[in-house]
Amino acid sequence: MNYKERYDGRKVDELRPIEAKVGVIPRATGSALFKIGKTHALAAVYGPRELYPQFLQDPQKGILRCNYNMLAFSGAGERVRPGPSRRSREISFVMEKALLPVIDMEAFPSTVIDVFVELVQTDAGTRCAGITAAAMALADAGIPMKDLISAVAVGRMGGNIVLDVTKEEEDYEGGMADIPVAMSTRTGEVTLLQDDGDLTKEELMKALHLAKKGCEQIKKVQIQALKNRYKGE
């Protein structure tokens, strides 16, 4: 069985419709909303602020603390159990690792920068949408960064490599691999690479190239959203 035509009629290298907005939460130091298809991620950054308990403080650099959360009503109908879970802890952790390489944490010793990512509505690719939103929120919070991080999930559907998989595609039964990728497109540095499924070396390389193409498109939207906040009139 081969997956030729995508469920939603997109081309294999086509992203879902994207929308981004910066500065959506006035009380936060920085915030952003990122929508890709039916996946909507909301990110808020607070800080740098003093870190407690005190023994966690690092006098040489600040720490980044991410929190990923899917809202109870965000799934496809079945209720997502609220509160921390093994999955959300893992995603919080990988998000932190995906964002850290571009952030200059030495500028804020002994402090913490809190990043909260809430998934309001989900249709696969949530960690990627979360990272993309968090990168914009961090920039909006005035945290010094070497580059913005953009993220997208690529997948192997049967024998095809496709960009930006949906939940429907993730559940495809004819052989599926889901590969979330986050990268700094300026340097080409990959900051997140996970894989769920079988993949040959060639397929992985092809997937990475496709992810880079997707990330470049997403980055354009991120830049535009940040600039729109300060556009005149």
Partner: protein, 230 residues
């Protein structure tokens, strides 16, 4: 070969390339990566001769020596006060810097500055880590603030609120008949006899904050204040 990739006063985002070649030098919030200059913050490019720097448009206040800031007294000890200046760490106001009067060792410190009191103070020193901050109340204009409204603006917009030699702020003060104190940390205290006019001053300050990067600001604020007066 050196080329400038952006114009002066354009708005850039982190990771944007500003210049290529070794002739330009990185200023504040700009880093050099190979032979390129890269922006690290959302802000406005400022090019002075060969120095390229970013004037940030967003972000938290970073304490700097000699800054005049507004702060709230949050704690009191035997030898001074702890003051919240809207930064990650509380600042210290020592007894000897707290007043030009002599303060008895046994005196009740609350009679000078009590909890929840707002003060206009000056930063006298900041440690390299930004964790230890000393304040002083000795200087012109440094005082305890009375009743009024406290609003928060982005710290990078403070110079625009004050204006050239205080032109903007005195324009608002005159038009609304209010007393205004602006701290470098983005806290603004507004107090007036007439609550309606006090509110107008708040709106004027907020308007400056949201529109400060668009040219013709002074005229627009003037028109706004005049329009409200009628």
């Amino acid at each position: 070969m050196t080329t400038l990739l952006v114009e002066d006063k354009t708005i850039v985002v982190p990771g944007e390339e500003l210049a290529e070649g070794m002739e330009y030098l990185p200023g504040s919030d700009v880093i050099r990566d190979g032979d390129k200059l890269i922006s690290t913050k959302v802000g406005m490019v400022s090019i002075q001769n060969h120095l390229v720097k970013i004037i940030p448009l967003a972000g938290k206040y970073m304490p700097k020596k000699n800054d005049i800031v507004l702060g709230k007294v949050v704690s009191m000890g035997f030898s001074g006060w702890r003051v919240d200046i809207d930064w990650a760490f509380e600042a210290n106001l020592a007894l000897r810097d707290a007043s030009s009067d002599f303060i008895e060792k046994t005196a009740d410190l609350a009679q000078y500055y009590d909890y929840e009191d707002w003060i206009v103070c000056q930063i006298t020193s900041v440690s390299a880590s930004g964790k230890l901050i000393d304040l002083s109340m000795k200087g012109p204009g440094l005082r305890k603030l009375g009743p009024g409204r406290m609003i928060h603006v982005t710290p990078s917009k403070v110079p625009r609120i004050i204006g050239k030699l205080g032109s903007m702020i005195s324009m608002i003060k005159e038009a609304t008949g209010t007393k205004i104190s602006v701290g470098q940390n983005g806290l603004v205290w507004i107090s007036g006899e007439d609550p309606q006019k006090e509110l107008l001053a708040v709106h004027a300050v907020k308007k400056i904050e949201t529109e400060s990067h668009i040219s013709g600001l002074t005229d627009r604020i003037k028109a706004f204040l005049e329009g409200a007066a009628q």
